[in-house]
């Protein structure tokens, strides 16, 4: 099974090359890879139907209990066949759709990448493996929606899809981890046996809630549905594949997959079924409102996704089977209809149904494909769509609560009208301005939707084989053997009458659609307060918050940052010392030597001089005095090594200062008296805090274990008598290596700052070296400093 994923990934890597060498016909070749995987999946059919699941396992991070484990059962097989089968057709179709575009290779690569991720989702047995593939589908979906990366609306839609589905994924992860904790395993196959225990667990409700948010966002359930219509900004092959046939069903897959573990409770029913029902109805209503072909299809997809969620939420054996039947039927007809919409768009560059008409004669093959898919969508004999709808009505009719059946019929009436808008409106009537020049596309454009339509028809005429698969899938969802017997003709009964009612209602709705405008005008206000507005508001607020807090915290004033740091440090030190101080601070022995006190006074006086200096020379001199005096303190308290280093470094520092700032003007007084007063107060408080902290540290300390360790081990272990040196070059040699590294990095920094300069500056220097006239005209400070620069080689002559 890993081989399948690798094959698709390798094909993804080859795709750009294929496009460069073969061009758009390479789609036929690339499609062989998913077709091959499709064939391999078909080979497993017999064993899966006979209840023998196949699994594969690779240890990933054994210490974390993390494994890459895959398992193929009825549900995975069903999804896998859809992913690879429709995927192969989409690759061919995409080649023709994007024909002369250089980006075709990229599109193929991303479609294949997505295919691998989606196949991983449905094959994964470890929940974390599943999650990783799940997130990969979100990322590839983001890249594919934003395929036209130069268009702002594509960017916004892609970001929206990523934020909604990615945010859902973020919620899903803790849900899956809770599931793993409650079930003591991350393998779905192990969790199946502990379903009873998990449903009794105290974390059951939070876990279910978190997982469902992930599934609902992915599968565009109300109120997260708004990203899916916007995702139609992607090229049509992507919409056909990701946003109707496969990716949006990942959430449905997850709900189905976890049903035997988490399902069957009242919580399961009440958290899922109502959401699905609302989504179903909202989707159907919005579908007949829309005028863009792809928007109509997107809302119809939302409606069907709602149906699937509802059926899984109800969770009787009949509804589970019905969900799978609807899922299969939908994948075939909706994928096909999207491709038809793409073919129309490709031919006339128009998707608004009000501008379309009379395409029947111009595009006969596309029309046939559209009819095949459309009849399945409305559920007419003898398509598989009809069987699916019959199964659905039958399952809903068996429930004690009639409201689900009523909602289903209502929703289907809307969908029938929507199918009319997509399949009848563009092809009948007289030609419009937009469709005058219409012409049929190539085989690659009408072939794939026709193939999908014919498959839908064939499954309807001969439903025995698909029944086997649906039985195997239902077994995986229900956790026990479910008898499935699909048949085209059930005789005249209530469900058939309901089907007829649906068709008639849909036809009337389509016929009288102009009357709906009044209703739509009224509910437009309602839609303005919909979840999409909430999303926009949230996005804007987050950005505003970020901008606001950045403006406050990162305001560009260095002293503000310093004041914040110093203030917070002082505050937290005092908070920590509050109770401790009185009990620990005891009087210290007064053992001063007068020369030591004098030295301390010298340091303080020099520091004050440096602060009060009005020329840089005085300040640097005072700084030097401080440095030398500190070195003297080191001498007095037994640290000659320190003193020597300090003397050398201090001398170097002073020389460096003098060299760099010899041309600098005296200090100007830049701050007001008030600011200086405030800063002085902060500085004195901070200094006082340090003094108190230091005294406190000295009084509470009673032993020096690390120092004593070094002193006692210096000779026996490191064979050195100067303990300080032994520490530096032996015990802590790596630290010294770090120090040397810092020093060299700083040296490189100093050197490059002095040597590297923008070209304009270098030009100026050369100019001023060539003649004095330039430097007379250009007497900006920068130019003056150039002339005064001591290091740069260019100015060596000056």
């Amino acid at each position: 099974m890993f081989l399948w994923l690798w094959a698709i990934l390798i094909a993804a890597g080859l795709a750009p090359g294929v496009n460069r060498v073969v061009g758009s016909r390479g789609g036929w070749g690339l499609a062989l890879v998913p077709a091959g995987v499709f064939a391999c999946l078909l080979k497993q059919w017999a064993s899966i139907v006979n209840q023998q699941d196949v699994s594969a396992y690779v240890d990933w991070v054994p210490t974390l209990n993390l494994a890459m484990s895959l398992r193929l059962d009825g549900l995975s097989l069903l999804f896998g066949l859809l992913v690879t089968g429709i995927g192969a057709l989409v690759l061919v179709y995409a080649g023709a759709y994007l024909k002369v575009d250089d980006r075709l290779g990229r599109l193929w690569a991303m479609l294949l990448l997505f295919m691998a991720a989606m196949l991983g989702v449905v094959l994964a047995d470890n929940v974390l493996t599943l999650f990783i593939f799940w997130e990969l589908t979100s990322i590839t979906s983001y890249l594919l929606i934003g395929f036209n990366s130069d268009r702002p609306e594509s960017q916004a839609s892609a970001l929206q899809a990523l934020l909604v589905t990615g945010g859902g994924g973020l919620v899903l992860l803790p849900g899956l981890i809770l599931l793993g904790l409650a079930g003591q395993s991350l393998e779905l196959s192990d969790l199946l046996s502990s379903g009873d225990h998990i449903r009794q667990h105290s974390l059951y409700v939070p876990m279910l809630l978190l997982i469902l948010v992930g599934a609902f966002t992915k599968s565009a359930q109300f109120p997260f549905h708004f990203w899916l219509p916007n995702a139609m900004a992607a090229p049509t092959p992507i919409s056909a594949y990701l946003h109707s046939a496969t990716m949006v069903k990942a959430g449905i897959y997850l709900i189905a997959r976890l049903h035997p573990i988490l399902g069957g409770t009242a919580e399961w029913f009440w958290m899922i079924a109502p959401v699905g029902t609302i989504t179903m109805v909202v989707g159907a209503v919005l579908a007949i409102r829309a005028t863009d072909l792809k928007q109509i299809l997107a809302y119809a997809t939302i409606s069907v996704l709602g149906t699937l969620t509802m059926l899984l939420g109800i969770g009787t054996e009949a509804t589970l089977t019905a969900a799978l039947a609807v899922l299969v039927a939908h994948a075939f007809y909706k994928g096909g209809l999207f491709m038809v919409a793409g073919a129309i768009d490709h031919a006339v560059h128009q998707r608004d149904i009000r501008q379309l008409g009379g395409l029947r004669s111009a595009m006969p093959a596309t029309f046939v494909a559209s009819c095949l898919a459309g009849t399945s969508m409305v559920g007419v004999l003898p398509t598989f769509g009809f069987i699916a709808k019959e199964t659905w009505y039958e399952a809903a009719g068996d429930l004690p609560d009639i409201s689900f059946l009523a909602a289903s019929v209502l929703c289907n009436i809307g969908l029938v009208a929507a199918a009319g808008l997509v399949c009848i409106k563009p092809f009948f009537g007289s030609r419009t301005n937009a469709t005058q020049q219409a012409h049929e596309g190539s085989l690659a454009l009408w072939g794939p939707p026709t193939a999908l339509g014919v498959t839908g028809l064939a499954l309807g005429l001969a439903p025995t084989r698909i029944s086997e698969l649906l039985a195997a899938g239902s077994r995986a969802i229900a956790g026990r053997v479910v008898p499935v017997k699909l048949a085209l003709w059930h005789g005249v009964n209530v469900t058939l009458l309901l089907s007829l009612l649906t068709l008639a209602g849909g036809a009337v709705l389509y016929w009288q659609r102009h009357r709906l405008k009044v209703v739509f005008a009224a509910d437009g206000r309602l839609i303005r307060y919909g979840p999409s507005t909430v999303y926009d508001w949230l996005l804007k607020s987050v950005n505003q918050l970020a901008r606001g807090q950045t403006a406050i915290l990162q305001n560009g004033y260095l002293r503000f940052y310093l004041l914040t740091m110093v203030g917070l440090t002082v505050f937290s030190v005092w908070m920590a010392l509050k109770g401790e101080l009185q009990s620990h601070l005891k009087p210290m022995p007064f053992d001063f030597h007068s020369h030591e006190v004098l030295l301390a006074c010298l340091i303080l006086v020099a520091a004050i001089t440096a602060v009060r200096a009005t020329t840089w020379l005085l300040a640097v001199g005072a700084l030097g005095v401080v440095g030398y005096s500190v070195a003297a303190v080191f001498v007095l308290f037994g640290a000659p090594d320190l003193a020597m280093t300090q003397f050398v470094i201090e001398t170097l520092t002073v020389i460096l200062f003098v060299m760099a700032f010899s041309r600098l003007p005296d200090f100007r007084r830049l701050s007001s008296v008030r600011t200086r007063g405030r800063d002085a107060l902060v500085a004195v408080v901070a200094g006082g805090t340090i003094t108190v902290l230091l005294l406190f540290a000295m009084t509470v300390r009673s032993s020096y274990p690390i120092s004593d360790y070094y002193v006692t081990h210096s000779v026996p272990e490191a064979h050195g008598r100067n303990v300080v040196n032994v520490i530096l070059v032996d015990f802590r040699a790596l630290d010294t290596l770090g120090e040397i590294t810092v020093l060299s990095v700083a040296a490189i920094g100093v050197y490059s700052l002095l040597m590297l300069r923008p070209p304009s500056q270098a030009d100026k220097v050369i100019h001023s070296a060539n003649g004095k006239a330039d430097s007379l005209q250009d007497n900006s400070p920068a130019a003056q400093h150039d002339a005064a620069a001591d290091h740069p080689p260019e100015s060596g002559g000056v």
């Binding site: 004033y557 260095l558 002293r559 310093l562 006190v597 301390a600 340091i603 303080l604 520091a607 440096a610 602060v611 300040a619 401080v626 440095g627 080191f634 007095l636 308290f637 037994g638 640290a639 000659p640 320190l642 300090q646 470094i649 460096l656 760099a660 700032f661 600098l664 100007r668 830049l670 701050s671 800063d679 500085a683 004195v684 901070a686 200094g687 006082g688 340090i690 003094t691 230091l694 000295m698 020096y704 120092s707 008598r721 100067n722 303990v723 300080v724 520490i727 530096l728 630290d735 120090e739 810092v742 020093l743 700083a746 920094g749 100093v750 700052l753 400070p781 920068a782 400093h785 150039d786």
Partner: protein, 115 residues
């Protein structure tokens, strides 16, 4: 002596922080220098202060005969002196180039990120 050194350290910190809060970049640099002296002296004082007895073990012995100066802060400070010099030198050149290129030593005029 501890108290005197502690007050000195506090004074150096105060002077360093005050200078770093100034708008003039050269003063900022002087403040940085004061602050590194203050930090070194802080570490030194926080260790065991012993007058005059260097942490060297006499020849022929494996242990010091009397109590000696604390070697640990000394090792830390030795590293700190060198590193603070590196930082100071780098900052100095950076500020030197900034003044040279932008023609100002006022930090309030250096707020934009791309000039």
């Amino acid at each position: 002596m501890d108290i005197v050194l502690a007050i000195t350290v506090g004074g150096l910190y105060a002077a360093g922080i005050f200078m770093m809060l100034r708008r003039n970049v050269v003063k900022l640099l002087i403040g940085l220098g004061l602050l590194s002296h203050a930090a070194n002296l802080l570490i030194f004082t926080a260790g065991r202060l012993v007058r005059g007895r260097v942490a060297v073990i006499p020849a022929g012995e494996t242990q010091p005969l009397t109590i000696v100066a604390d070697p640990l802060p000394q090792a830390l400070i030795l590293t700190a002196i060198v590193i603070s010099f590196a930082v100071l030198a780098f900052t100095l050149v950076l500020i030197y180039r900034t003044i040279q290129t932008l023609g100002t030593d006022d930090l309030d005029q250096l707020r934009a990120t791309d000039t």
